[in-house]
């Protein structure tokens, strides 16, 4: 019973976060801020749901079942990289940014890539 409660809780939390992430994706003003939605809220949201699944199968079903943790690990490794690459692409494309420029210029944001 407790287990079910916990599972439900995690589901609620996870779903909420995932939803908020997607809302952010739609609502936030410019590309660079939008990017924060997926990279954070979604990862945690999904993380929570995966945790829910782990608990569900471990507690309410037979035997320990941790393999959803792999997906979390995977997401935590990849999501930042995706974001990173997307920002780079955006910068390269001169996607308009509402953000304040860096204090002092260290060659950012990337000018014509010197290759």
């Amino acid at each position: 019973m407790i287990g079910e409660l916990v599972v439900s809780l995690f589901i609620l939390v996870g779903a909420t976060f995932a939803l908020i992430g997607s809302i952010g994706l739609v609502r936030l003003p410019d590309f660079y801020t939008r990017l924060h939605g997926p990279t954070k809220a979604t990862t945690l949201g999904v993380g929570a749901l995966l945790l829910a699944s782990v608990i569900y199968f471990s507690a309410l079903r037979e035997g320990l079942s941790l393999h959803e943790a792999l997906i979390t690990l995977f997401l935590f490794m990849t999501a930042p990289v995706s974001a990173h690459l997307l920002v780079r692409a955006g910068l390269h494309h001169r996607v308009e940014s509402r953000s304040r420029a860096p204090a002092e210029d260290h060659g950012h944001p990337d000018p014509e890539a010197p290759i």
């Binding site: 924060h36 809220a41 393999h67 930042p80 990173h84 910068l91 953000s99 260290h106 060659g107 990337d110």
Partner: protein, 173 residues
């Protein structure tokens, strides 16, 4: 990174090209098959040895983790920050009235080890409203985009203090 965290605790024998990797693989395997039946352990060990041998050449310089203790202390901090970060971002998103102050900040880097830099970048991206956007020339700076900042310098300092320092200890010695 958590996988490698657990892995580091058991780093021992040197007769494998990447002992850490081997251990990680065995653990991942056991997670995959979702059982600790001896058969699976043997199988996992088999892969744990075979795959590193196969991918040996993809690892010109394998990561060295010296200060395990620091890592152990770092992980919970990181996870906590992630949760906080999510709450903050969530709040920023759902709070319609609040005006965002997105900012680009440049973080000068002291660490040079590629694995360290990567870890740092990932950590930054996963924690409070920041996304690590671009490595500067010569990997001496890291361009970070933050969602809502009032004092950029404070952010830079926080990143260097809270994440870069421990990572430097962990990876570079």
């Amino acid at each position: 990174m958590s996988g490698r965290a657990e892995a580091s605790t058991k780093s021992g024998f040197k007769l494998f090209p990447h002992p850490v990797l081997t251990v990680v693989l065995v653990i991942v395997w056991l997670l995959l098959v979702n059982s600790i039946h001896p058969r699976m352990i043997v199988l996992g060990l088999g892969f744990g040895i075979a795959i590193p041998l196969f991918t040996r050449r993809f690892w010109p310089d394998h990561p060295r983790i010296c200060r395990v203790g620091v890592l152990v202390r770092f992980v919970p901090v990181f996870i906590w920050d992630v949760v906080i970060a999510n709450l903050q971002v969530a709040w920023l998103i759902v709070n319609f009235r609040r005006e965002l102050r997105p900012t680009w900040v440049v973080v000068p880097l002291d660490i040079t080890d590629p694995y360290a830099i990567t870890t740092l970048a990932n950590v930054i991206s996963l924690t409070p409203g920041t996304v690590s956007s671009e490595l500067g020339p010569g990997r001496r700076t890291l361009l970070v985009h933050s969602m809502d900042v009032d004092d950029p310098q404070a952010l830079v300092d926080r990143i260097k203090r809270r994440y870069e320092a421990p990572l430097k200890e962990i990876f570079e010695c």
